[in-house]
Symmetry: C2
């Protein structure tokens, strides 16, 4: 293969030393004449010089690579997140390696091993579900990574690692408040493991504060997928719920569909609140009142945090910087009203 153009070639062509060429091209022109700079740039241009990233990494010790470990990119929320993160990284010249842990502790462990070997500059980690109960293993793995790590969306409040996520309890409470304000009292909820459960918690607490309790028959466990919303719809309607809080939009979509099949109208016969506001991004403009998690913000905020760490890390010769004082940032979700919550007669509030 025709050898690639090296810096030496450029230097020779420009009639200067390799050092000078490097200095010019990296804009480190401490004291270089305009003339010399022009010569080097022209030579580089003419020869179509592209620096060898491996060689550069070898000496600068940064690879301009960031890894994202995601449980499953085939999850709409994570797909969106990956998209936004990639954009953020790209803007600063970093490339994003994406790897799926498949929610498996073992796979996650293996991937982290690879990361160590490859020596990336930073890591976004969305812990696998299987790591929830195996915190010590996860921590050990993270500790073995020689570059900054930021936890995303899950397990972010541990305080042992940088983390950015959403305030799920507060999101649940927003949903509850919306239903309370609309005068609902027979309310259902379909939750699920992890964050969904936190949403449910905020939801339940807020209802309780308003003197409303969740009928156990209306308090079901979902799986974040369309089918569990679909499956739960009938029982909800049967049990006489007037409103249901679905802990993500996909379950809400399943429920909407099933209700439609059952001949029930939303919101006339049943009010629905979803969570995520992710469907629209995928060309599925399901009209449902929902608690939005602004993915762009999550991506921007976490990159900001990781990038800052990467910069710190570069200029240090001692300990792991982010072990010093891990940061946690919780973003606030926001209710988006799309009219699938019916205001019950005689229960209007706030308006005269």
């Amino acid at each position: 293969m025709a050898r690639r153009v090296t810096l030496r070639d450029v230097a020779k062509d420009a009639g200067v030393s390799v050092t000078t060429a490097s200095l010019v091209l990296n804009k480190r022109h401490s004291r270089l004449s305009e003339e010399t700079r022009r010569l080097v740039f022209e030579a580089a241009e003419r020869l179509k010089y592209v620096p060898n990233q491996s060689a550069r990494s070898l000496v600068t010790k940064n690879t301009m690579l960031v890894t994202l470990i995601v449980p499953d990119i085939e999850n709409l929320f994570f797909a969106s997140l990956a998209r936004c993160l990639e954009e953020e990284c790209q803007q600063q010249g970093y490339s994003l390696i994406i790897a799926n842990s498949d929610d498996s502790r073992e796979t996650e462990h293996a991937l982290i091993g690879q990361i160590v070997a490859r020596g990336v500059d930073g890591v976004f980690l969305i812990p696998a579900r299987e790591s929830f109960g195996r915190l010590d293993e996860l921590q050990a793995d993270v500790a073995s990574i020689a570059c900054p790590v930021t936890l995303l969306d899950r397990m972010v409040t541990g305080g042992w690692c940088d983390g950015v996520g959403f305030d799920n309890r507060h999101g649940g409470s927003l949903a509850a408040q919306c239903l309370i304000d609309a005068g609902h009292t027979r309310i259902g909820c379909i939750a699920g493991e992890g964050n969904a459960n936190r949403r449910r918690q905020g939801f339940v607490d807020t209802l309780a504060a308003a003197g409303i309790s969740l009928d156990p028959r209306l308090d079901v466990v979902g799986n974040y997928r369309f089918d569990s919303g679909f499956a739960a719809a009938y029982a909800m309607a049967q049990a006489g719920a007037t409103a249901v809080f679905c802990c993500n939009d996909l379950m809400a979509a399943g429920m909407l569909r099933r209700l439609g099949e059952l001949g029930l109208r939303v919101p006339e016969d049943m009010s629905i609140i979803g969570y995520d506001n992710i469907l629209a991004r995928f060309g599925m403009p399901i009209e449902v009142t929902t608690v939005e998690q602004h993915v762009e913000s999550l991506a921007a905020e976490s990159w900001r945090m990781l990038y800052a760490r990467i910069l710190e890390h570069a200029g240090d010769d001692d300990a792991r910087p982010w072990l010093s004082e891990p940061q946690t940032k919780l973003l606030e979700p926001r209710l988006i009203n799309r009219g699938t919550v019916k205001v019950l007669r005689g229960c209007r509030q706030g308006e005269e």
Copy 2:
């Protein structure tokens, strides 16, 4: 930062030369005593040695990185594909960098520039929509890449570059045959740019061969998204179609939903065929007869092709290997019957 353990450290610890250590660890034990090998392995183990990939890349000239340029990872089909490709690559020890072109020619161009700079070992490229009409630019970009490139899903039959995709015309023809066999004659189609249009072509041709023509009012242009299926449903029903071919499942889902709202039953009042069979992977088990594109096969096949090229490429000192004779592989889609096509009375075929 505590300097990472290098090969020199291992060698010193094991009491051998760096060369020997390298030889042992890379399993190139041409002629090394069992004893020496043990020593080196133990030292490496003890010191937790991890080779520096940058240094290795510098000399071996391969980075163990593969890039996937995808128009938009927030497209269900591409998300699935990315997932599968990542798995394939991972298995051979390669990491996958994912970058979104956003269907923009300019972004694609910029990304390819980065690829050249980073020097990855292989590239999966799903061309941006904007590149469809600017083939020469795309070709120039691809030619500038110094490693094997495989086109995926789009523009794969050009013959100027390796490519793997599905036979879209044939897929369309499968859909048509299904409807013909069921005795439908007033048939609608919602297509779209690119592959959808190829599917439509196969569909139309096969219908024509059976003496059926598509009413122009029933021949609409979609955008691959839920909403365009949703929007087209009413017109289809109005115009008296008994069956509609939706060129992807998302449009089929939109149509199903709208038909439901209109009080029309599927398949009793309207038969529907989708395309992709992608929704189930995302937890949306929409029951619709569809033409399946087996994503795993696409991923496996394209990785096989790319990997073979990477191996060729490694051992060559001359021309670009894949310029010699580009390969094209078309995979066959498959009809999955899920009962959303009604067999019209008096038109049964094949069964007695």
